[in-house]
């Protein structure tokens, strides 16, 4: 169909004239219908459409036969032939059943534009997640920062420590302005320094103005809450047990928290962190101030 326009027009004219003599618009002649230039006003009939339907059915059968051998099922070699066959089917239906071949060019431009956009969207998604596969969880989970309203200290940069590159002990002076009731303005208590520093508690727990971990329950007000966790335990006993033996009790929704926390998560991490008795006492003392 790469004849030059003049020639084509002449041919079309001839065909048109010839056609008018022979046939009603019902029958455009089979090969002309599928491959040739079909004069305006000519549509297929039972013969053309029937033939096309048989052709499409045969393609479907071939597609099925391709994946009958067990060795080919799910193998990569069948992908190309299957895709090619279904693309042929696709365009046959669009061109002839939907008679787009014989329509105003604007119509197929619209359709092809939609189709192309759809393909681009699909392809980009598959490339993004299937080929250039980022691992969003592993990357972002340790870095996620919970949403917070920074009313006064919005200039303060929020730096989240990674679990595997634990932060240097925070400079107490930085923390002091936002430190909660209990921490003196003069400087952080030894417990708080441990909390954000070598004891690594900060990577999992949130304390307003001190730490922003999300894997464990927030510890603001833990001193009051701790007294009600296990009956017969004082706040101090509960907090101490939570640190030295985290699995003894797992806090969760039953305690009025927003979620059930992962049993064993804290103990697994604490197994790699050595805390002396004094460290534990300092931490308990610090947490007991968080009323």
């Amino acid at each position: 169909m790469s004849t030059n326009p003049g020639q084509e027009a002449a041919m079309a004219h001839d065909e048109h004239a010839a056609h008018e003599e022979h046939a009603a618009h019902e029958d455009a002649g089979i090969s002309r219908f599928f491959f040739g230039h079909v004069p305006e006003g000519v549509h297929g009939g039972l013969k053309q459409y029937g033939l096309l339907a048989i052709f499409l059915a045969i393609i479907t059968l071939i597609e099925f036969l391709i994946i009958v051998p067990e060795g080919l099922q799910g193998s990569g070699v069948v992908i190309a032939p299957l895709v090619i066959l279904s693309v042929i089917k696709f365009f046959c239906v669009v061109a002839f059943f939907m008679h787009l071949k014989f329509e105003h060019e604007l119509l197929w431009q619209i359709f092809v534009a939609g189709l192309a956009l759809g393909l681009v969207v699909a392809l980009s998604l598959v490339l993004l997640f299937g080929v250039f596969r980022p691992t969003p969880r592993a990357f972002s989970e340790p870095r996620q920062v919970p949403f917070e309203h920074h009313v006064e200290d919005h200039h303060e940069a929020v730096a989240r420590p990674l679990p595997d590159e634990l932060p240097p002990p925070a400079d107490p002076a930085d923390l002091a302005p936002a430190a909660p009731a209990g921490a003196t303005a003069a400087g952080a208590s030894p417990g708080q320094t441990l909390f954000v520093g070598t004891a690594a508690c900060a990577s999992c727990h949130t304390i307003q103005g001190v730490a922003q971990g999300v894997l464990g329950p927030p510890l603001d007000g833990i001193a009051s809450a701790a007294a009600n966790r296990i009956s017969g335990y004082s706040a101090e006993e509960y907090i101490r047990e939570s640190i030295v033996e985290p699995d003894a009790y797992t806090a969760g929704t039953a305690d009025g928290l927003s979620q059930d926390y992962q049993q064993g998560l804290m103990s697994a991490t604490m197994a790699g962190i050595v805390l002396s008795d004094e460290d534990v006492e300092a931490l308990v003392e610090y947490l007991l101030q968080l009323r």
Partner: protein, 229 residues
Amino acid sequence: MAHADTTHAPPAHPPAHEEETTTGINHRKLLMWVFLGSDCLFFGSLIATYMVYRGQSIVGPYPRDIIDVPITTVSTFVLLMSSFAMVMGVAAARNGNQKRLIQWLWLTIVLGSIFIGFQVYEFNLFRVEGLRYETNLFSSTFFTLTGFHGAHVTLGIFWLICLAIVAARNPAGRPSHLDVDIAGLYWHFVDIVWIVIFTLLYLIGGFDGPPEAGHAAVQGWNWVTGLIS
């Protein structure tokens, strides 16, 4: 309608009531094609979502345990034949053959309903075998995509039933050729979407199992279990 010497010749059989438009294309027909173009995007996104999550389910049943390619080949064939019946209905409407039109319309409706019957059977079988919407990535993307396609087919069936009823009640040229033609465009579109789904989800993806070792999904899973143990 446009003059004979304009670049765009008028459609073959302009219905008497057709109005002149700047493009020479009937507005309703144009609207249908625009809609079909945008529906390509809709299904394109759903298909892409399926492909993105393909082979990443970490619990069964996996496609290979549950997808039945032979049965779906039959239902694909049925839908294809319904397209053939539809196009014959459009041809009958163009020739003003009301009786044939009604016959072809009902054949299309019956074939479309058989297709839906296959889908209901399939969905139910999946449910019984333990594949529910929320079971795994495969099930939720599969049901979303094929479910929306089934909804399109169902809508088309209702549309065609309406046309068949109108045709039976008004022997005098209603529904017009254009009415049938536009419904036909929609119906064929649903067919071509299925051509794509059948190839990707059944012929190619139907034998997928759990992710292979080294796959991102497995690594992610190991990372999580590693944290806990």
